[in-house]
């Protein structure tokens, strides 16, 4: 019989007390209430570990970097043992042919019973030649690994939306996972990177309940992506009061006023930064005095400056925001109306002159 999570944790020297504490913390971070802690503990004691294949396409590894910094649970002690992370080319010991053989083994051995986690996305131009893994285009590895997967986790904005490598004009045609794999359930965990605890909580939920948490219409877990940063921002009272940072290092910036005018994307970004925060709950960008750049939103990289409240519209073929387009239109129409009125007045005067 395969090892359960509990077996692995005990083998790693984790006491039962610590294990139960982790279960309580996980239940709390999932918003499940204390009665679910025993359920999580029971699942971890009895369920064989679900193998996870963690593939890397076009990406910067910031998702992995975030993931390994999970504080609740601590990734070192718990997560890498908890997950049967059978393949992750960034952090695995083996390399080359031996490593690639594991992918084939998992896909064939655990048909329909493994989770495929994807970090990054496949570029499709030139038959996928812009991203080669083990001598083959990544898109082929992705399609192969997805063929028998139970479900797919799209880590980060790359896998979820496309992210920076998909920015205009997207020369490699980097394409988010859900547009390449269309026949598997996919959960998106966007962010550049996603919050560490969000990542571990999502994977814990999937392994515990063997199903996805409730998703919104775009495939994101509602428990972390149902509210905007703005809705739970600790600077929100300054927004409602009309107290804004007008320029960096002004009095408002020192007093911690709202960063709305500095282009903070908190009002349009669905993520858990203002509640879960980062680095073990120490801080998050707005708390550090910088606006949110909206890194978990689709297309955030193509909306013009991170420091502009009104972002650019591309549909007009020029880089301009709504006010520039609108004021130009009003100017043109206003001038046309004025000119038309002048011509009308002249015509009336001339007609009156003709009649007299």
């Amino acid at each position: 019989m395969r090892e359960t999570f509990y077996d692995v944790m005990r083998r790693q020297g984790i006491s039962r007390r610590s294990f139960l504490k982790f279960c309580s913390l996980t239940a709390a971070s999932l918003g499940l209430g204390p009665e679910f802690a025993p359920t999580i503990a029971h699942a971890m004691e009895t369920k064989p570990r679900l193998p996870v294949l963690w593939l890397h396409g076009l990406e910067c590894t910031c998702c992995s970097e975030s993931f390994i910094r999970s504080a609740h649970p601590l990734v070192k002690d718990v997560v890498l043992s908890m997950l049967s992370l059978d393949y992750d080319d960034t952090i695995m010991a083996s390399a080359g042919g031996a490593a690639e053989a594991i992918v084939t083994e998992i896909v064939e051995k655990y048909k329909g019973n493994y989770i495929l986690a994807v970090e990054g996305n496949p570029p499709l131009n030139e038959d996928g030649m812009f991203c080669i893994i083990g001598g083959k285009p990544f898109v082929e590895q992705l399609r192969y690994a997805a063929s028998n997967a139970k479900a797919i986790v799209s880590w980060g904005s790359c896998a979820s939306w496309g992210c920076v490598q998909a920015a205009r004009p997207n020369p490699t045609r980097a394409t988010p996972v859900h547009q390449v794999i269309t026949d598997k359930p996919i959960i998106k965990v966007p962010g550049c990177p996603p919050i560490a605890e969000v990542m571990t909580a999502v994977i814990t939920y999937i392994l515990t309940f063997e199903k996805f948490p409730e998703l919104d219409r775009q495939g994101r877990p509602k428990m972390f992506y149902s509210q905007r940063i703005h809705d739970k921002c600790y600077r929100r009272p300054h927004f409602d009061a009309g107290q804004f940072v007008e320029s960096w290092d002004d009095e408002g910036a020192r007093k911690g006023y709202c960063l709305y005018k500095m282009g903070c994307k908190g009002p349009t970004t669905y993520n858990a930064c203002s509640t879960v925060r980062w680095n073990g709950g120490i801080s998050f960008p707005i708390q550090s005095g910088h606006g949110c750049i909206g890194c978990s939103e689709d297309g955030f990289w193509d909306k013009g400056g991170f420091y502009d409240r009104l972002t650019d519209i591309h549909q007009f073929g020029i880089e301009a925001n709504a006010d520039q387009v609108g004021k130009a239109a009003v100017g043109v129409v206003g001038a046309a109306v004025a000119a038309h009125a002048a011509v009308t007045a002249l015509k009336r005067a001339r007609d009156a002159g003709d009649k007299s």
Partner: protein
């Protein structure tokens, strides 16, 4: 428009001005047989019923509030100092925006209801006859008139074809766009359990890509409305002076009067 038998007394009664009692009866059921009978200086046609007029001015006020407050939501006033608990400026601006928005939405729904139950002029801006070549010809004529290429305007009881076109696409659809995107943005703050989120945010935001795009296009909609208002007011004033029927007094009193005795070009 069907032929109506000529059974009433002639509408043009040159002894009374305005001959309102008879004009009301005729104006709601005009056929081509009346051409040449209505449209003299002594006629008055009841075009804009009281609910339409009241809606027009309430809606105009709501849009004014929405435009100003909306602009200041996107580009807030200079920062206030002191403690957050001392002020609630953005809160009041947003309240004004949301309150005016609901006034506009309910007014618009009422206006659609009135298009169904009101007189035929109440339907005009909602149902442009897009398949009528005559109507498109009328648009062309109106454009030529505005480019000083025709000596005089045609005579209509309701909107001229170009005005109908502008009202339908520049006002009705812009309003619908603003209501849909506006409720989608409102639903974001109201939360996923709200009806605004369920019926609007849940599909509008993915349709546009993300929340910021919806904000941007809602903001473009503000400018579209400003452009409409400029043209609307200018055209109303100019037509009041230059055309052959009354304009500004009509949207106050509801009655359309005419400046010459020649027949109508179109009884709608």
């Amino acid at each position: 428009m069907t032929d109506t038998p000529l059974t009433d007394t002639p509408l043009t009664d040159t002894t009374a001005h305005p001959n309102r009692g008879q004009a009301i009866k005729g104006a709601t059921n005009l056929g081509p047989a009346y051409h040449g009978r209505l449209g003299s200086r002594f006629d008055a046609v009841y075009v804009y019923e009281a609910p339409v007029r009241i809606w027009h001015w309430i809606n105009a006020f709501a849009i004014l509030v929405l435009g100003v407050s909306g602009y200041f939501i996107a580009s807030p006033l200079p920062s206030l100092s002191g403690e957050a608990s001392d002020h609630y400026l953005m809160g009041y601006i947003r309240f004004a925006h949301f309150a005016a928005a609901y006034v506009m939405i309910l007014g618009f729904l009422f206006r659609i209801y009135w298009a169904v139950v009101g007189n035929r002029h109440a339907r005009q801006i909602f149902t442009p006859p897009l398949l009528s070549m005559k109507w498109w010809g009328g648009i062309l004529y109106s454009i030529r008139w505005y480019f000083f290429m025709e000596p005089e305007a045609r005579k209509y009881v309701g909107h001229n074809p170009l005005a109908t076109f502008g009202m339908h696409f520049g006002f009705v659809w812009v309003t619908i766009f603003m209501i849909v995107t506006g409720l989608a943005l409102y639903g974001e703050g109201a939360g996923m359990a709200s009806w605004q989120y369920r019926f609007f945010s849940s599909w509008v935001i993915p349709l546009f890509g993300q929340s910021q795009d919806v904000h941007t296009w809602h903001h473009v909609g503000l400018w579209a409305m400003v452009v409409f208002i400029i043209i609307h007011i200018y055209a109303a004033i100019r037509e009041d002076i230059m055309s052959r029927q009354s304009m500004i007094s009509s949207v106050t009193s509801g009655w359309r009067t005419f400046k010459d005795d020649r027949p109508l070009d179109e009884d709608h």
